[in-house]
Symmetry: C2
Subunit: 315 residues, 2 copies
């Protein structure tokens, strides 16, 4: 989106998706404030429906279809949270959801999609196969394809994370946002730009998948050569719909190492009693490490989700 | 306490400890409501300071000492949450805390007590050694002994869990409370009796440590012959200060099996994104199993704490 949104635009999106999403709580921790020397506020999207912020983009995207499009359904490929978000949003709105999942997707995620009434098609675990299977379904059924991060209506839905956050803590000096496909940070950027232009939007990325940091530095989208990070939600790359917004609003992206991500995640489980996923640990790790950054004023940190395999913890 | 408390008594206790404890949130889960068929409200004492409700009793007990007693300090023996609660409460009130801990207490608990400024004395891991070490310290220093569950001021402090809960959800038909030493359920009973006498107080206990259930049935305190339950907070027995209250107010105690406790705990982690300890899982397990009980009206469940060893999970 090449133009800024107005406050009214932002509030309209919030009103539109309100019936379909949770207004998630903002939490804080004396101990983590002491450790970081900051005044940190955590926006808990792990308490969002289906356990992650993806619900916001998915529901906004389906709501923006016309009746005729809705009657033909939606289709998305995803091995994780977005699949669940699309299936659940579609179910609430009475829309069919075709979900393409790689054969190696975790069983528990498939079961969750099924429990929300999603119609699963399995494919080979390659991006090419996922895309072609999705295209085939879209062609055959007329279903509208949804993209987890690189689609305007998804980005707009994600803006509501920051709308709620700034409503509750209006004087945030900065918000730290994990960056994967770029859909969340782009949405947060749009809301900050409209509602609190002095609030700095800072990206948080694993050093092992630092494509967004390099993209921002180069001024063009670059890909990850490898992406062996535990933060499985952040292995993807930016897209042409979100990158222009990120370039316009985000001044810096800070990377953290794998051991910092795991330590931050564990700290939040132990001391805040919150189950958060590794991708959420990335933002916390930045806040814990960058003591100078957080020393002044209030810092927001987005806990993007809490979907983890409890049988496979990294400690 | 042989007499009922008045509403005013109850509110005075709440006001007194307010500056020292968190007002914890009440949460609910669509999915767990669907699974149980009930309308469940969880009082999240896992978000309490030091991670468990024990903070309430400990702080109220120290606050009720006179200045001269305070100057001599307090002493308690505990291998777990109560040690941390006493140390932290005492620190906030500028009172010395002598903590007797068995040599086999988890290192992480000792470190937590130290970080709150508690003065640790180690002893053999037997109840006799713990008690005699505590008595010795009390005699030498003049410190006031605090008991985790069988002391009036501790029980009164615990009443505030239900005071807050009923304030937020006034029409609870019942509250399910895990029972270990009996201090929490006695406190909750006093508050319900004063504020909402029609709200039924129901105990939840592991079948492997069902001393409270048997005590209530017999009308006298009986002990556990063994107590090999994962719910380590519930292995203790009732005492002469709390049992009369329990007998007066609590009509039934429901037991659950070990596999139900673990499944309930895991379900709350996975779906509510809350880290809760096994003892808290006991109350959730009762709510999940007793479908007829929870079918009518609103049911409160007390999540007593969230202190677990993340390196040693039961799944």
């Amino acid at each position: 989106m090449s133009t800024k949104l107005s406050k009214e635009d932002i509030h309209q999106i919030q009103e539109r998706i309100n019936p379909y999403v949770h207004h998630t709580p903002v939490m804080s921790s004396r101990l983590i404030n002491e450790l970081s020397g900051g005044d940190l506020f955590f926006k808990c999207e792990n308490f969002q429906r289906m356990g992650a912020f993806k619900m916001r983009g998915a529901s906004n995207a389906i709501l923006s279809l016309n009746e005729e499009q809705k009657s033909r359904g939606v289709v998305a490929h995803s091995s994780g949270n977005f699949a669940q978000a699309v299936a659940l949003s579609a179910k609430m709105m009475g829309v069919k959801a075709y979900i393409v999942m790689p054969t190696n997707a975790p069983k528990v995620k498939k079961q969750a999609v099924e429990s929300y009434g999603g119609i699963i098609t399995e494919c080979e675990p390659t991006m090419t196969a996922r895309q072609s299977t999705t295209d085939n379904i879209a062609e055959k059924t007329g279903a509208s394809p949804l993209h987890p991060s690189n689609q305007d209506e998804v980005i707009l839905g994600n803006s509501t994370i920051a709308t709620e956050f700034l409503n509750e803590v209006p004087d945030l000096e900065r918000i730290i946002v994990p960056v994967g496909g770029g859909g969340m940070i782009a949405g947060v950027s749009l809301a900050c730009e409209a509602l609190s232009p002095l609030c700095e939007v800072i990206g948080a990325e694993p050093a092992e998948a630092d494509d967004a940091k390099r993209s921002l530095e180069r001024g063009e989208i670059v890909l990850n050569e490898s992406s062996s990070t535990i933060a499985d939600g952040l292995r993807t790359h930016l897209g042409d719909r979100n990158f222009p917004i990120i370039k316009r609003v985000v001044k810096r992206i800070i990377t953290v190492e794998e051991d910092e991500i795991i330590a931050a995640m564990k700290l939040v489980w132990e001391r805040m009693k919150l189950v958060i996923e590794p991708s959420a640990g990335v933002g916390v790790a930045v806040a814990l490490r960058e003591k100078e950054l957080v020393a002044q004023g209030k810092t927001g940190v987005i806990i993007c989700g809490g979907n983890v395999d409890l049988e496979n913890l990294p400690w």
